[in-house]
């Protein structure tokens, strides 16, 4: 279907597709099995400028927004949902800096993230604080020119591959949600170390680590968004970043359809291809319709959101304020509801479609040496991270009721 993408957007799609199909597809099984980090692929993505598609040009990017990121992540996920996290996790690290960073923070960190020279990670989850970020135990205490951080973060995607981290800690435990603050940390700082590497069901090309902070000194100027504004930073980031997960989910679903259809056309039973049975056709119809609906929702929401985002980025360059503040000033609208809808819908579709893809293929679909079961394993995480789909439903429901009350 024609989504009226610009020439640049089409170029992003083509470039990502070429790398995905030529370079990633042949090695995805290797990285899934070994759980090694796909550095050779990262190098390909760097050379092709794909890390920079959503960064402002002032910071070495190509000047796009959320849609550009989504197009790249979708195409890569179509080959491997795990390898797509090289870019997607870096985006989750970069968005809070783009949205809440001071001009100095942006100058210092964004160019390396935009070129892919250094990868990024975002870490908020703790053993006691999952969906409830207000239960954060990790603490940050101001001592002179430094915040001293102590505690444990877990399930950090991109884990030890990343070199820049946006990390959340409480500067005032007594204030709960209002005590949470965001920081920018760098790999190699004394006191920051890696703990357990998780063994996961899917996205196994992406390392998930525990991060330990033991008197880790973070310069005062690396506080992101101000003391006690951590929850705003997290929520403001998720409003913009959730389409990224959605595009990963969408790409995984499309990749599963690609593989399942190729097999179903070829596989003969009772003297005909299994794709030609009505029971299969109906499954294929449902899978394709759901994926196209998911894509239509994702592209239209990101297009609309980018209009706000790119205008705010431009205004922030002139005013010196943060992009987030400019976004709030320009429109009263937050993107929480729509971005949650996109994430919810695309990831639920992905789980359904990848499960059906395995079913369509029958026995071979369940086997490790056939790629379809991997899509099913990779799809599951998209219903869980960056807010479980239960949390997304809470957000959407609350937003709908709030809108109703405002009209009333």
């Amino acid at each position: 279907m024609n989504y009226f993408l610009t020439e640049e957007q089409q170029a992003i799609q083509e470039t990502a597709r070429e790398i995905a199909q030529k370079k990633i597809k042949p090695v995805r099984e290797h990285y899934d099995v070994t759980e090694e980090y796909p550095w050779p692929i990262v190098e390909e993505l760097r050379k092709a400028d794909l890390f920079g598609v959503y960064f402002p040009t002032q910071y070495g990017g190509l000047g796009g927004g959320g849609l550009e990121l989504c197009l790249a992540v979708e195409e890569i996920s179509r080959a491997c949902g795990g390898i797509a996290l090289t870019i997607a996790c870096t985006a989750l690290c970069a968005f809070p800096i783009i949205l809440f960073g001071t001009p100095e923070q942006k100058k210092k960190y964004l160019p390396d993230l935009a070129s892919g020279k250094r990868l990024g990670a975002f870490t908020i989850t703790e053993p006691e604080a999952g969906s409830d970020a207000t239960a954060t135990r990790c603490s940050a205490k101001l001592e002179g020119n430094y915040y001293v951080l102590n505690g444990t973060k877990n399930f950090c995607s991109n884990g030890n591959a990343a070199e820049i981290y946006t990390l959340f800690a409480t500067t005032n435990p007594a204030r709960g949600a209002r005590g949470l603050s965001a920081f920018i940390l760098e790999k190699g700082w004394p006191g920051l170390s890696f703990g357990k590497k998780e063994v996961k069901m899917g996205i196994r090309a992406s390392p998930t680590y525990e991060i330990n902070l033991d008197n880790c000194k973070v310069p005062k100027e690396n506080l992101l968004g101000g003391e006690g504004r951590g929850l705003s930073v997290a929520q403001g980031t998720f409003d913009i970043s959730r389409p990224g997960v959605a595009s990963q989910a969408l790409g995984i679903a499309q990749g599963a359809i690609d593989e399942a259809l190729a097999y179903a056309k070829m596989r003969k039973q009772f003297g005909q291809s299994i794709a030609s049975f009505q029971s299969s056709l109906h499954m294929i119809a449902d899978m394709s319709t759901q994926v196209e609906a998911a894509r239509a929702l994702l592209y239209s929401v990101t297009k609309a959101m980018d209009k706000d985002l790119l205008a705010a980025e431009e205004a922030a360059e002139k005013s010196g304020k943060t992009v987030y503040d400019e976004m709030k000033k320009n429109s009263s609208k937050r993107w929480t509801k729509e971005s949650a809808m996109v994430k919810l819908f695309c990831s639920d579709v992905s789980m359904k479609v990848t499960t059906d893809a395995v079913q369509l293929c029958g026995g071979i679909g369940y086997m490790r040496d056939f790629p379809v079961e991997k899509f099913m394993r990779d799809a599951k995480i998209t219903q869980i991270y960056e807010g479980t789909n239960q949390i997304q439903r809470n957000e959407i429901g609350a937003a709908v009721i709030k809108e109703l009350a405002q009209k009333g």
Binding site: E8, E18, D49, L62
Partner: protein
Amino acid sequence: MHIVVCIKQTPATANIQIDPKTGTLKREGMAAAINPFDEYGIEEAVRIKERVPNSVVSVVTMGPPQAEESLRDAISRGVDQGFHLCDRAFAGADTYATSYALQMGIRKIAEFTQKKVDLIICGKQTNDGDTGHVGPGIAAWLDIPNVAYVKKVEEINDSLIRVHRMMEDGVDVLEMPLPAVIAVVKEINEPRVPSLRGKMAAKKAVIPRWTAEDIKADKNKIGLGGSPTIVASSFNPPPRTGGVKVEGATPEEKAKNLVAKLLEMKVL
């Protein structure tokens, strides 16, 4: 360092068909692309550029107007500038006339950019002509050294290049003074995917189009008239027929049947 890569736009297939009636290559309805071997040449030039500071990579092709697309494709893969030798007078050239025209073009590039050319890179052969003549031919016209079948550039600096040449029985390590010509094999690297910035640059690039006169080519040495080669005929070799399976219940019986067959064929 100034590197010039010579490329050709050829049919985008590994399976070139010959028209049995005319004996010429079938080009109609074929999608065109950079000759696959030349892609390795482009990649190697860009890698040398990334290694040696202040390097520039030019790309040149001789071909019809649509061959400009291949130059833009090369720019999207990291080449700095493209030059197009385009004139009806070039048409019908064999490898002698082609290498003559290309080296005249390379002289013109040096003059035009005011940068002497240090290294010329070609693919080892094209996927349509399959001769492998043009790279060494250019070196002969320019009277500079060349090595073909290069699988590795071990060292390169302002004055010399050391390369590994792939041989049937091993590898030769050879050193040449610059300027020189190398023709590369596909083992040398893995070409990158065109970058986004490269694609944008390719779209905007202004590509000079030069005629035979522009490059001061001798009219008697170009095109069909300048080509001494006469193609007597070309044909697709007949496909190999399948073998015969020797039947038998036991290995001994199979061996007996085989010997009987060989005797029958008077091989034994």
